[in-house]
């Protein structure tokens, strides 16, 4: 039922969208989402931004790593720096991205074209996905003048449901990416950039899937909540 609903939404968006890139993107998803999760192409995504407000702040870099047949494909891990208006300012302290590095960066428009091409036919995976999706949607709206439909798994939401089901009290910080990874015994990564965080998020999803499924076949909707 939810499958049908999601498919319809994607189909409709493809139908009414006046931009071929976006309608193709949504149509490609329709073909994939009814597959069992183990065969569904996934793409772990992480964005670094100048701030948390998707209306005013900008994307600094995008990290991607695909998950095919349940395996993270290190060979296809990528990171893209996006040029911004103004300076990276205070967020440089967090991302380590400095203004002068942004000389290799591409424009927001190029970045979105690249992102759509790389993630076409993939269900996205992100930690606290709504934030990343908001930035992406806003930027795509700005570049193409069209609305896009993403299908995304939010590892934070997955973790929150799991903890609630165990009647755990969710304290502040327990849902942060590192804290979640720690509960699965995943290694601590010192370095932080979009690519490493995408890897970290992808690994967390694999651990969550193993934890939820055991030996059973999972479907996408077990994770969409």
């Amino acid at each position: 039922m939810r499958n049908l609903y999601l498919k319809t939404r994607l189909q409709l968006n493809a139908l009414f969208c006046k931009e071929a890139v976006i309608s193709d993107y949504n149509r490609a998803l329709v073909a994939q989402i009814s597959k069992p999760l183990s065969q569904l192409p996934l793409m772990a995504v992480d964005l670094e931004m100048t701030g948390l407000d998707c209306q005013f702040d900008q994307i600094l870099s995008i990290g991607l790593i695909p998950i095919h047949n349940g395996l993270l494909q290190v060979a296809k891990s990528q990171q893209l720096l996006v040029s911004i208006d103004g300076s990276v300012g205070d967020s440089a302290a967090i991302h380590g991205i400095l203004d002068n590095q942004l000389t290799q960066a591409v424009s927001a428009k190029q970045a979105m074209a690249w992102f759509l091409e790389q993630t076409k036919g993939h269900v996205l995976v992100a930690h606290h996905a709504p934030l990343d999706l908001c930035f992406l949607k806003t930027e795509i709206q700005r570049c193409y003048g069209q609305t896009i439909q993403f299908v995304a798994i939010d590892t934070m939401a997955v973790e929150k449901r799991r903890l609630l089901r165990q009647h755990d009290v969710i304290k502040e910080g327990t849902l942060r990416l590192d804290a979640c990874r720690q509960r699965y015994g995943l290694p601590v990564y010192a370095a932080h950039n979009a690519a490493v965080d995408a890897l970290a998020c992808g690994e967390l999803l694999l651990a969550q899937m193993a934890g939820i499924a055991g030996n059973d076949e999972l479907s996408l909707f077990d994770l969409l909540g």
């Binding site: 060979a75 950039n193 490493v196």
Partner: protein, 615 residues
Amino acid sequence: MDASELQPITDFIQGLVPFDTLSNLTLDRCCKSLSVGYYSKASRFVPLDPNNPQLYIVRCGAFEVRDKNGELLDRLGEGDYFGFPSLLSGEDASNRVAILEDGLVYHLPPNMFDFLRQESREFDRFFNRAFAKRLRHQGRFKAKELTTTSRVSTLMSHSPLTIDMKASVAEASRLMRASRVSSVLVIDNNKLVGILTDKDLRNRVLAENLDGSLPVHQAMTTTPVTIESNSLVFEAMLLMSEHNIHHLPVVDNGVTTGVVTSTDILRGQSSQPLLLIGEIERQKDLQSLIQVSKQIPLLLQNLISADARAEEIGRVLTSVTDALTRRLIVLNQQILGEAPMAFCWLAFGSQGRQDQAACSDQDNGLLLAHEPDEAAQGYFEALSHAVCKGLDECGYVYCPGDIMAQNPKWRMSLDKWKQVFDKWVNTPEPKALMHASIFFDMRSVYGPQTLFDGLQDAVLSNTKNNDIFLAGLTGNSLTSSPPLGFFRKFVLERDGSEVKGIDLKHKGNALINDIARVYALSAGIKEVNTAKRIRALMEQSIINRKDALNLADAHEFIAHMRLSNQGYQYTQSLPVTNYLMPQNLSSLVRHQLRDAFKVVHDGQVGLKLKMMRSY
């Protein structure tokens, strides 16, 4: 938008042996080829896809490798590997990998694994070793746990040293010194009343400022803890640790029948080479030496099942032979009297090279300081006959070629030996060249080093850069070649007993010995052990580093195969030979053996180019 570097993965892989030997560029390529999987306890086993073998690198979590019978082979944690046996052998994985703790695992694809093996010798070697080790682990017969199954009677000394309780401690000490033991049983009216040990002498006599006239019964430990001869060794160990003692008198039905010490138990457990050598040096007659030498096959077995390196096994066994030879010389000199002149007992062949294995025969000779008169000749004839006979009775059979000190031909003065070597070097006839393989691997086992050096220096100055002799020697060593054809077809030789197999000694190790010998003689290198010769040749840049290491590896590998094969034959009560049955080999070992023989072949080609170019 180039593929990004995932620093955490690179950092982790870089810290792992053998990946740490890769260049940065290769490492980078390697890390980028990885994929990452997560395995949960709930699925119990890692699904190993037979159509898609991978090298699995554990990033976190815990795993267990078990064979198809469920036998535990290996326990793995962070930084460990599995899956390489199928990658190396091309065979389907027969082992299962159980998940003990959820974990993240990196997968390295087979084409990258092969690339890295070609790229880095260390990488290749690491996984071949790891595999060979696991194979051996798999094939290892379960050694019987000695302490839990054998009886005290098998270890105890049967005629214990006894003394009357009224004797003085000085007498007791002298008795202990003469027998080289650390305890004596104290008897009164044929009844055991106590035991006197080194410790008692220290604590109750010396430390108390008492003198040697003190009667034994005042220093001894009264009513000592005893054991019966049919008790388990295990029980003896328990008693010892319980009472913190090292000596247990053995008493059966009130009669003292022996004593067992912690050293006896230790010796029985491992046939330690050091203990064996110590024991050889303690024996006082031929009969007891023969008795002790019966432990040598057991020592070899223990070394093989302990997975010692073949080179080490050769050295250990040879040092036992050396000790035995020396002891025989000393014992016979006690009978025959002081030697009329300085002499060296020479060991040739495998004993000279320190690579003896099972069923070695003796190759030896006698080097005399100067020309003997008739009396001296008689003395050395008697001595050499006695020693060779002793060795024969201890299991080192007479040399079929009669190269032994008891043969007057090989019992000569320094000048005569020099002449003989001179003749071999300067008129290299076929027979002389055949001798070379035995005589040029010589070592002095007994006697003044200066005397031996006199001979060796003379020989080496003669052979060094002697093109004609070296070419002849090379030609002779090339008459035999490694059985490479075997891998296409089973081209095998016959042993006397109609059994076919690969002759690992004559078609493998002997050829490497030959190569090392020719080079060593050409460069005047004093070493005779093949591994040491190769190392010296490498250090003097006579063989390049890569070839030298390959040759040394091949030598070790073939020798190891030969030893483990002999270990197998021994446990199966088959006659112990140098022949390996090809049908017993897995495809990986066959592959490794072929590589090793290929190295021998290349070594022969190189030798020919270098030494026979003027022909």
